[in-house]
């Protein structure tokens, strides 16, 4: 039993669809209506075209590991019992500037085989009150 449970994401007006999508095991990202830029966290102005109209779109959920770390010591609440765990930055296949941070759901015996640029696919982890998007090797 950890002394503290893992942090719980609380949706805001801006990103409610992201977390509601996750609760239904759907991976949605904010996309600029005008130029199609996908963003990993919601924006109110598109940095590419200055459009301010956005939609929630379903990317394929595929991407590659841009980079990662295997965390051996942590100050993050709720993660002491998970050590060592993997934090990964996934570059989604639709947009090279869009990086999604998550855990890589992978057996510890596979840690030695991890590498940059490996293909991954989105998955979901139900944590009671919330569901969070995660990734696993494709």
């Amino acid at each position: 039993m950890t002394a503290t449970a893992k942090a719980i994401p609380v949706p805001t007006e801006l990103d409610r669809p992201y977390w509601e999508g996750a609760s239904k095991h759907q991976f949605v990202l904010q996309r600029c209506v005008q130029c199609g830029l996908f963003s990993s966290q919601p924006r109110i102005i598109c940095p590419k075209c200055h459009g301010s109209e956005f939609e929630w779109a379903k990317p394929s959920g595929r991407g590659v590991i841009h980079s990662y770390t295997i965390v051996n010591q942590t100050t993050s609440p709720g993660f002491n019992d998970e050590l060592p765990y993997v934090v990964v930055h996934v570059q989604i296949e639709e947009e090279p500037t869009c990086y999604v941070t998550a855990n890589l759901l992978v057996e510890r015996s596979e840690y030695d085989k991890l590498d940059i640029d490996l293909p991954v696919i989105v998955d979901f982890e139900d944590r009671g009150e919330v569901t969070v998007p995660q990734f696993r090797l494709a």
Binding site: T4, A5, V10, H66, T69
Partner: protein, 410 residues
């Protein structure tokens, strides 16, 4: 046309407080200690100071609003020092190098005459920055409620990605995988820093030598960052006095002239690891070298911000000391040691002296240029035989500042 700071401004005094782990003396008092020491070092009095600049604006990361106890922002220091009037001030800027950069610009444009810049650091009693808990403490019997996070934190905290090493490790991981760097290569940096700290009585690791094996056997924090790749949190403060060149020459210390200056930064992209780190160094390098005719080979030493040891790679490559993806090889064989081709962080860096968020680098660069880097003058411990031009670059998350300090006009 870059900002032309050449030969207009000099650093003329440095000050340090006591450094230590969880000192009893509050952060604000340490800041006052360092500031008064710097003013005295320059041969000035408090009344001469007509400009003040610091970072951060309020409190440090994760330490809570304890102004004076765990931080020393501008408004607090005005009280702490009893400053009656200033003509110019700057608050924040992202890191201490930008606060120093603002001071250089303000002096060059005659906004004031003598600027005091300070940086005071607090070692969080809970164990680490950005957390209210410590992995080192025994678990409480009663479970605590889960933290609830929204906004940007909601995309990091639920994944256990919130602390410093976990934020910075992926940059280093990608660099290693991409270019073939190994931990064995980084050992050269860590061991050199420790050797330098062994010549610096102010350093946290002054009396603790470190071997290659010590480094390789250090416990992993966020792979590939091991314990000795992380800087050492301390309580402490450092301060500088800057003035215009024409006022500098009559003061107590030899001036360390600012002869080049770069402050580039910022970019819209949510930076992926590695490229994000490269961007800071590239932008500082681009603007710094545009401001001078000097070249990397003209540098007698370099002081590079090292919150985490791989920062050295981004700096060396971004500031054109070596090609992209080669710094890990470049630092081998004594090249960066005292007596080598480009001594780096002769005071031991933040990894071995302690974390002053860049101020330690500016203090050391100044002392080297002034020929007084040894704590016992004349003992030859770490004062460089030739210290005419030294590059100092600090800051490392999208923005920073760099300057060349020189013993004479360039």
């Amino acid at each position: 046309m870059p900002f032309d700071a050449k030969n207009k401004v000099a650093i003329v005094g440095v000050g340090q407080s006591a450094f230590g782990r969880k000192l009893d003396r509050p952060t604000g008092a340490l800041a006052v200690d360092a500031a008064l020491a710097a003013i005295d070092d320059a041969g000035l009095t408090l009344k001469d100071i007509d400009g003040i600049s610091t970072f951060p604006e309020s409190t440090g990361p994760g330490v809570g609003p304890q102004v004076g106890l765990s931080s020393a922002p501008l408004n607090w220091m005005v009280q702490g020092l009893g400053i009656e009037q200033v003509d110019w001030w700057a608050n924040g800027g992202g890191n201490i190098s930008t606060a120093i950069g603002y001071a250089i610009q303000a002096l060059a444009t005659h906004s004031c005459n003598y600027v005091l810049v300070w940086r005071a650091m607090y070692q969080p009693r809970s164990g680490a920055f950005g957390s209210g808990t410590s992995s080192q403490k025994p678990a409480d019997s009663a479970p605590k409620p889960a933290p609830r996070v929204s906004g940007a934190g909601a995309y990091v905290a639920p994944y256990g990605g919130g602390d410093g090493p976990t934020f910075f490790a992926p940059s280093y991981m990608r660099y290693m995988k991409k270019y073939g760097a190994k931990r064995e290569h980084m050992a050269a940096y860590a061991v050199t820093m420790r050797a330098n700290a062994n010549k610096n009585p102010k350093a946290m690791f002054y009396d603790k030598p470190m071997t290659f094996d010590d480094y390789m056997n250090a416990r992993m924090i966020s792979d590939p960052l091991c314990l000795f790749d992380c800087d050492m949190p301390i309580d402490g403060a450092g301060a500088l006095i800057l003035t215009r060149a024409e006022l500098a020459k009559d003061l107590k210390q030899k001036p360390a002239y600012v002869t080049a200056f770069g402050s580039g930064g910022w970019d819209w992209r949510v930076r992926p690891p590695e490229e994000y780190m490269h961007a800071t160094a590239d932008n500082v390098g681009r603007t710094l070298w545009a401001s001078t005719d000097m070249k990397p080979t003209d540098m007698d030493a370099a002081m590079f911000y090292d919150g985490f040891s791989p920062d050295i790679y981004w700096w060396l490559e971004g500031l054109n000391f070596c090609e992209r993806g080669t710094a890990y090889e470049w630092i081998q064989d004594g090249r960066i040691a005292i007596g080598g081709e480009l001594p780096i962080n002769t005071f031991g860096g933040q990894v071995s002296e302690g974390r002053l968020h860049g101020m330690g680098h500016w203090v050391e660069a100044t002392r080297q240029i002034q020929g007084r880097a040894d704590d016992k003058p004349g003992d030859g411990a770490r004062q460089l035989a030739k210290a005419e031009n030294i590059l100092v670059a600090t800051g490392m998350t999208g923005h920073g500042c760099g300057a060349i300090l020189s013993s004479d006009f360039r």
